[in-house]
């Protein structure tokens, strides 16, 4: 069993260490990821869709047309890419005329798209392989008190994401628990991290992440787990920014879900690129005696 890997832009070109841990986890679980030539930007549902819906649909359809369901369809490490690719499918299938128009343009570059490519988030694939993960754990994450941040686009709009519950999600909490960690509830668990408004209002964006981090600190959690590179930058990079700009030091390490799974599966920590995190997880490892 395997999938076509859709990498997108942010992870491979800015946060490649997140790609490294994700690929290693899939390899360890024996789930094949096929690299496909010729993908473009998904395009960004919080960027390009907002300035040109037609372009968003057209480039999205072109990307989807490059994958085959016989290869397992697409899997992506990024919630934004998943939202776009599922959304484009939804809108093309909802309105025949739009699909025809998009295909008219695709034809001029020798392409076409039927609207049927399957798309999955990598966390969905992990959830579907929970037993395999359980069997392969060598380093349970004892002492990790994890604040799970689902992120908006992993869940909503449920109309076309069609995965987990939009307001009472459970998949990532369950994965984290299987790893031996504790999932800590916190008041602002379902709130947006604020990343998409950074382009329009940096101050507002920082306020949103500050409130989230405060809520996480108040809950007693000692780290964050998330599944989206935009959320990752907001939680990790802008946590550093808050420290520089406002002198607030939360010092809460932020893990990609793949990193936590990799640690629990005993994948060599040195191969994960954890040193690229702005908030270093080293002191957490010492506190919980994670060897």
């Amino acid at each position: 069993m395997g999938y076509d890997l859709f990498l997108g832009c942010v992870i491979p070109a800015r946060l490649p260490f997140l790609e490294a841990s994700s690929r290693k986890v899939f390899e360890k679980l024996g789930i094949e990821l096929k690299d496909v030539d010729g993908f473009s930007c998904c395009p960004d549902p919080t960027g390009i869709e907002q300035i040109d819906h037609k372009t968003w649909l057209t480039l999205g359809a072109r990307n989807l047309s490059l994958s085959r369901n016989s290869n397992g369809g697409i899997v992506s490490f990024c919630s934004g890419c998943v939202e776009t690719l599922k959304g484009v499918n939804y809108f093309l299938n909802k309105d025949k005329k739009t699909k025809e128009e998009v295909n008219k343009d695709l034809k001029k570059i020798g392409g076409s798209y039927d609207g049927n490519t399957n798309v999955k988030h990598f966390a969905q694939v992990l959830y579907e392989n929970l037993d395999k993960i359980r069997e392969n754990i060598t380093h349970p994450l004892d002492g990790f008190k994890v604040a799970v941040h689902y992120g908006c686009h992993y869940l909503r709009p449920s109309e076309y994401i069609q995965w987990d519950d939009p307001f009472e999600p459970k998949t990532i909490d369950e994965i984290v628990r299987v790893l031996g960690a504790e999932s800590i509830d916190y008041e602002l668990k379902l709130e947006c991290c604020g990343n998409p408004v950074e382009k329009s209002d940096k101050e507002l964006s920082l306020l949103m992440i500050k409130n989230k981090l405060q809520s996480i600190q108040d809950s007693g959690a000692n780290c964050v787990a998330l599944v989206c590179p935009a959320c990752y930058q907001q939680f990790d990079f802008n946590q550093r920014e808050l420290s520089k700009e406002e002198g607030i030091d939360f010092d809460i390490p932020v893990f990609y879900l793949s990193e936590l799974v990799a640690l629990a599966l005993g994948i060599d920590r040195g191969d994960l690129g954890l040193n690229f995190h702005r908030i270093k997880p080293k002191s957490l490892f010492e506190i919980v005696h994670f060897a």
């Binding site: 473009s40 480039l59 939009p166 949103m208």
Partner: protein, 165 residues
């Protein structure tokens, strides 16, 4: 006094017919994190009301409320008892702002990057080295010519150029 602009209203309706279901209950604004943090200055119900009335000037020129402040968290869409697809309606409004050259800088640079590279973030040498060190394979992204051709067909390139891109 403003009069209803049926032309703009119909344009929004054509893009997303769910606009007509709104009965102004304000559930969307009640659940909106940005409305909460801006003391209601940002207000999704109000944007929908203005769209129903076709108030193009308010929405596109004055940007009152400022539709760019939506974080696209999709909470309102999920909560709306009438299944109004608010974020899809907002995206039409923002698309019109884009055509008028009236949008935050960050969107422009992302658009330009895609025209030039086919991807939103080009691969720097530092990143290529880092990828190698992490044992990651080379990525063969889309042909820039092919993407450019599509961006010409959708008028995207023209709209970016209008801003001096």
């Amino acid at each position: 006094m403003s009069v209803v602009n049926f032309e703009f209203r119909n344009e929004v309706l054509k893009h997303n017919a769910s606009l007509s279901y709104c009965y102004q209950c304000s559930t969307c604004s009640g659940g909106c994190p940005v409305a909460l943090l801006t003391d209601g200055k940002y207000n999704p119900r109000k944007i929908i009301e203005e769209a129903i009335l076709g108030f193009q000037e308010k929405l596109v020129d004055e940007q009152d409320p400022n539709v760019w402040l939506c974080s696209t968290c999709q909470t309102c869409v999920e909560l709306c008892p009438q299944n109004v697809e608010l974020t899809e309606i907002f995206s039409l409004i923002k698309n019109r702002c884009f055509e008028n050259g009236n949008y935050p800088e960050g969107f422009f640079s992302q658009g330009q990057a895609i025209i030039e590279n086919g991807v939103a973030i080009p691969y720097s040498n530092a990143i290529l080295n880092r990828r190698k060190k992490l044992g990651l394979p080379d990525v063969k992204t889309a042909s820039v010519d092919e993407i450019r051709k599509l961006l010409k067909l959708t008028q995207f390139e023209n709209n970016i150029k209008k801003r001096g891109g």
